[in-house]
């Protein structure tokens, strides 16, 4: 088993669906980090079978709502003195701009690319969002984060 030391002060992003870790890693710009970061892939998990984990040894500003869009099952632990100081529950945002794309081929955003992709939450349980322009409702899986 690959072991990664626990961190003193920082953030652990856990229960990421296997394969999505790299997406989050890139979204957070961690490829340019000058502090210690670990992306651990395909860890055995009771809940998910396999999962990815990201450990960040630093305090950084994260837009948690976007992480929720990528995968609402993610858990976030804020670590201080090697202990979990706070757990953050992810929530789907009411409005998202330029994170997901409309998949309706009849939508104006399919041909005019300068338009910001704006979506409004319609169903938090199903993770459904409505396109501001064509009103088509997408689940997050369909809309590709």
């Amino acid at each position: 088993m690959l072991t990664i030391n626990s961190i003193k002060k920082g953030i652990v992003i856990d229960h990421i669906k296997a394969g999505c870790g790299i997406k989050i890693f890139n979204y957070l710009g961690l490829d340019r980090a000058d502090f210690r970061v670990a992306l651990i892939m395909n860890v055995e998990s009771q809940k998910l079978g396999r999962k990815d984990i990201i450990k960040i040894e630093n305090v950084i500003d994260i837009d948690y709502t976007v992480l929720g869009l990528i995968d609402p099952n993610i858990t976030i632990d804020i670590i201080e003195d090697e202990k979990i100081k706070e757990k953050i529950k992810l929530k789907l945002p009411e409005k998202v701009v330029d994170v997901i794309k409309c998949k309706n081929p009849r939508c104006i955003t399919s041909i005019e690319k300068y338009i910001p992709n704006v979506f409004y939450l319609v169903d938090e349980v199903k993770g459904e969002y409505r396109c501001e322009y064509c009103d088509e409702v997408h689940t997050l899986e369909e809309a590709e984060v």
Partner: protein
């Protein structure tokens, strides 16, 4: 206040705002000459990214009858749009010349984009199969002019209730008035979508029934709104053959209807209303076109803010 506003979705305006447009339309119907110079010196741009002669003529006739003038294109091939100019850039330029813009576009949401970049009011004249708010205003003015009310009516909607957006808008709009009942007549494959049933009808506790045949219910209706049932919407040929005659309105069915029921249709019709019905005094689908022009005159005046002076 409607001055300076856009009309993109039929639900953009409150009931009071819609009533104020219909009230002005009534006055124009009564005395059109009085409004012949209401828009003197005003310029309307008609930006038609796909041809729709009927809708364009209705808007242009409305503006000309108000004394205004028109610029625009009736298909994108002949304009800078053909060179790939974006909707945002087109409307920003047009905003410099015109006082109000009317846009028809094959893509859903295009008029909404235009409204976000525009300095002048934008009216959606149809964006693909998405919204067509002036059709809804036309329907409302027709109903109110004939029935003298938008409340206490039994409204039959017949045909393709699943994909027909004019039907959805009409249900949403008429649900805002008191004590209306809906009779939804369609094959089961083409019933109204869940969100209309749950979020509009059931949520507001509105009386409605769903049936498959006109004959079962036609004697109860105050209004029969007919839309086209397309062959390709059916899952199998058998169902189409079995049901197609149920969705053709003819005199045999009209004999069962009330004397003061009115028949409406957003046009163009194909074969869902037999030609023999045209001469029946209850056939209102061609008169609807006239109301369409009057309601557009009222809308243009309201958005330009020229109604106060008349």
């Amino acid at each position: 206040m409607l001055k300076g506003r856009h009309l993109i979705d039929p639900m953009d305006f409150s009931v009071e705002e819609i009533d104020s447009i219909l009230n002005l339309a009534d006055k124009i119907v009564e005395n059109p000459e009085k409004y012949a110079h209401a828009c003197d010196g005003k310029l309307m741009a008609t930006l038609f990214y796909e041809p729709s002669t009927r809708t364009r003529f209705s808007f242009e006739a409305a503006m000309l009858r108000l004394g205004g003038k028109i610029i625009g294109f009736s298909e994108p091939n002949s304009s800078s749009v053909a060179k790939g100019e974006s909707v945002a850039d087109t409307i920003r330029t047009i905003s410099c010349y015109a006082d109000i813009a009317v846009m028809r576009h094959p893509k859903e949401g295009a008029p909404k984009i235009a409204s976000l970049y525009s300095q002048i009011p934008v009216i959606n004249a149809g964006d693909g199969g998405h919204q067509h708010p002036t059709q809804t205003l036309t329907d409302l003015l027709t109903i109110r002019s004939v029935k003298k009310t938008l409340s206490n009516l039994t409204i039959g909607l017949c045909g393709d209730l699943k994909f027909g957006r004019t039907v959805h808008s009409l249900i949403k709009s008429m649900s805002r008035y008191e004590n209306n009942k809906f009779v939804l007549i369609s094959p089961k494959e083409l019933k109204v979508p869940d969100y209309i049933r749950k979020e509009v009808l059931e949520k507001k506790n509105i009386d409605f029934i769903e049936v498959e045949r006109i004959e079962e219910v036609i004697d109860t209706l105050d209004i029969l709104y007919v839309t086209r049932v397309q062959r390709e919407r059916f899952f199998n040929e058998e169902d189409y053959i079995r049901l197609k005659d149920s969705y053709i309105l003819d005199m045999k069915k009209m004999k069962m209807a009330k004397d003061d029921m009115i028949v409406m249709h957003p046009l163009p019709r194909v074969n869902e209303i037999a030609y023999e019905v045209d001469s029946d005094p209850r056939a209102y689908y061609f008169k609807q076109a006239k109301y369409g022009m009057f309601v557009r005159m009222a809308l243009i005046m309201k958005l330009l803010g020229v109604d106060e002076i008349c």
